[in-house]
Symmetry: C2
Subunit: 519 residues, 2 copies
């Protein structure tokens, strides 16, 4: 090779390096794309122990019962979060995810269904506040709703193909946000106002009265071509999600797949692909059904991972796994109530860990370490900022104040907060069922400590979660200084975000904030 | 009677008189209410001659064929407008009514159906502008739509019970305004995104595939309990409208009933209550069906008038009768095309009078004179301001500029403009069908004169409507001064409202405004 040749090659190399450095971050070409694809795999009502992946420091009986090879694979390829939190019921979680706001601020504190109708149960003692019963709205003209710039809107405006698959439950029936298309999604597969469903079975038209029909509110919409078929909803959604990914590839757009399964919300239906195995293990019928629903959900995760690999997208696809609240621990579950999330106390609807601590996994190729684990706190509103950061979107405007904090530094191994950040929960409502930690409460976690405030009798409970993950030893009497510190922090926060609170039925007066009780 | 007694009675009388004068205008009590109930009876695709009430100065053959005793009654009790105008197709009319804006300003210039899909036909010559294909929206977050404060929103905010009954067609499918509830209506009976329907027959589930189902887009939604019954849609809507009036009475609210019939839009279905009579009159099958649909619509009007009387609401109920564009004059109508609105030229979709001049009646008890008639101009956007004035609502804020002018002074007999106000039409689109006056046009009427401008060849047509209601003698060549005056007026107006216009396919350049062609 001549000198000239060498110089020429050097020049070309330099030129290509410069070109590479200048590659626009919003490039959308299918192969050379720099924006990562993002799959948020959100399970409904999945408890911290509803998996063979251990999220506690010991393996539990539940870990041995349930079979989730997809989660095991994701955990081995990415990072496990052992202290990830949602809210205790579904709507507040979903609204926090979509807006980045804490529930105390967005005021969709209970679950939504019909326009201008509150689902709050009655109480002889309290009246519940005028919360945002119509859910979230991208639109500014709907009463009793939180108007916000939504996560998929921002992703879409930045070139993403935004796919909604599964349960939406963003806005009440007869409001714009009942339709995910009005929330920034390009595609809506099977989402509408309802947060539950009448059946997972294709044979029963996924809860619709007859083939091809949409029976509101509990029939799953939009999957008419499966009606009458022998197929489980979870599987049908997975097939449709893959088709939507294909569309993104045709469009040469990066995609955001919000894979929000209806599973494992009640009703308990047997997925016959997996059910018999659990019966043979000796589980009661209801628990075998529950386990089959978990394994079906897990197969969906596995299948999507396989599909991403098959399409050679693995290296540029982030997968986040999350649940929207703790596991359901009431009838029709078998066995003792409020024990299905052990070692955690209680379940869905409770301020105890069983209601709010959830399984979470993240795989970000080239960023997260394989088979890693983090004990850092995080809460559902953090997903908003995190996903936008993952997408490389730095400049965006929101009408709302964003409370969430990006957990990207944790994924990168750059964060070590010692968990001194405070997390807040606020539920000034009446979910309906009763049980441990279930009721109108506010709560704060900071370090190892958690304080729960009950509006019904203005009582406090204080737990040291490091020593007492099951929240069995209330230290409120012994730890009055800690109660004081946390109650002041919590009260200050609730006031700062203009949270709502119940009032006494007898006098109409507002019930005190937690720090009103502290001298 | 003693002096004291007489004085006492005088005092009481005076007191009652003062009390009457001071009666608050927003009083909502069912009996003592001062706000009038308002029924806007809007027919779809009804031509100026599709009635036994003559709107021309002579009775026509059509007036003799069609049988509309309800309209006759309303005309005899109120005021007939002989020069009332809509736009030439449905969506622009409905958006103008709901917003008070001229179509040139609101840009919903053609009809809407699917989100982000234009129904404009293709042309070898022109590209059509990027019009508001998603229709109107109360909501500010929807692309390709006009965001406005809507008539029923304002009425609702001022205490009215707002009832939508029939065809909505406000916003495209998968947008908030596909649902009338998102447009300020308290109640939605059978309205959705579509402007047409597959069938009027209950036996055919009003065009839905099977009983209880909603087949989008052409099945009528929300009347499931009539599915399979032998009932015509027009009758089912009337029954439901009466029930909604009952609700308003229970609530002790004045009501706004937007009675927007799907009739008499195609398909031509026989209403068997009336069909045979027209067959026996010798009409071809299609025309007998058409006549039966007119009479069914008219019976709905009659029944509502009877119901209002039965409920002793007649004295405080305003009834407005209007059509949304000229009569349909294409196949499957029998006979020569474009003649079904004679003496007017052409029909729906045309800039000629047959496309835009429509039957209109108003009865306002105590205000309009019985059996009166007005030749004053008015256009559909005028309904917005007029209805709000009728409701006594003086203070309201809109995000949009309102073009409409209240016709209340005409109803009160206080106006005599000599029709020197200019009216404007703007259709920079391709409806699809072809025919006289059908195409991309702008038009102006002022006094007896009307100028039509065709974008395809930048030609003008000028008519003296007083002498030539059939628009047969184009005076553009002889009347160049009038052409000049009207073209300048029209061009100025279109620019002032930021109207859109087609461009040449060959060069991409915008086609000139009408006044660009005037030296």
């Amino acid at each position: 090779m001549t000198n000239l040749g060498i110089k020429y090659i050097t020049f070309i190399t330099l030129f290509l390096l410069v070109l590479g450095a200048c590659k626009p971050t919003d490039e959308k070409d299918g192969k050379g794309q720099t924006k990562p694809n993002i799959i948020l795999f959100l399970v409904d009502d999945m408890g911290w122990q509803d998996t063979s992946v251990p999220f506690w420091d010991k393996e539990t009986n539940y870990n041995r019962i349930y079979h989730t090879p997809g989660m095991e694979r994701l955990a081995s390829e990415g990072m496990r979060f052992t202290q990830a939190y949602a809210t205790s019921v579904c709507s507040p979680t979903r609204v926090s995810l979509m807006t980045g706001m804490n529930a105390a601020r967005h005021r969709v504190t209970n679950w939504t269904l019909k326009r201008n109708v509150s689902v709050d149960g009655k109480s002889e003692l309290m009246d519940y506040p005028d919360w945002n019963i119509n859910g979230l709205q991208a639109c500014n003209s709907i009463e009793h709703s939180v108007h916000a710039k939504l996560l998929p809107q921002i992703l879409k405006e930045n070139g993403y193909y935004t796919i909604h698959c599964g349960k939406a439950h963003f806005g009440a029936m007869d409001t714009p946000a009942e339709n995910p298309i009005n929330c920034g999604f390009d595609v809506n597969i099977a989402g509408h106002a309802a947060g539950g469903l009448a059946s997972y079975l294709g044979e029963l038209n996924f809860g619709n009265k007859s083939k091809g029909e949409h029976t509101k509110p509990w029939g799953v919409p939009g999957l008419e071509h499966y009606h009458g078929d022998s197929i489980f909803l979870t599987e049908a959604l997975t097939i449709e999600a893959k088709k939507a990914i294909d569309n993104a590839l045709v469009n040469k757009q990066p995609f955001y797949l919000y894979m929000a399964h209806y599973a494992i919300h009640i009703p308990l239906n047997a997925d016959k692909r997996f059910y018999q195995k659990y019966i043979e293990m000796g589980l009661p019928e209801s628990e075998a059904k529950y386990a089959s629903m978990i394994e079906a959900m897990d197969k969906s995760l596995f299948d999507l991972m396989e599909y991403v690999e098959e399409k050679q997208l693995s290296d540029n696809t982030i997968i986040l796994f999350m649940s929207d609240n703790g596991g359901f621990s009431l009838r029709p579950r078998a066995g003792e109530l409020h024990t299905h999330n052990k070692p955690l106390n209680s379940g869905k609807g409770s301020a105890y860990e069983g209601g709010i601590r959830v399984p979470m996994l993240v795989k970000w190729p080239g960023v997260t370490k394989e088979n890693s684990s983090s004990e850092e706190f995080l809460i559902i509103e953090d997903f908003f900022s995190s996903i936008l950061e993952m997408a490389g979107i730095e400049k965006y405007k929101t009408t709302q104040v964003v409370d969430g904090v990006s957990f990207v530094p944790i994924l990168k191994g750059e964060s070590n907060t010692g968990n001194e950040r405070a997390l807040y929960w606020h539920f000034p409502n009446n979910w309906g069922p009763t049980g441990p930690g279930i009721g109108a409460t506010s709560a704060i976690r900071k370090g190892d400590w958690k304080l729960i405030y009950y509006y019904s009798d203005q009582s406090f409970e204080l737990y040291n979660l490091k020593k007492d993950i099951g929240e069995e030893n209330n230290l409120a009497d012994e730890g009055s200084e800690k109660v004081r510190e946390l109650a002041i922090n919590l009260g200050k926060y609730l006031r700062s975000v203009k949270a709502q609170r119940p009032s006494y039925k007898s006098t109409g007066e507002l019930i005190p904030w937690p720090d009103d009780l502290i001298n």
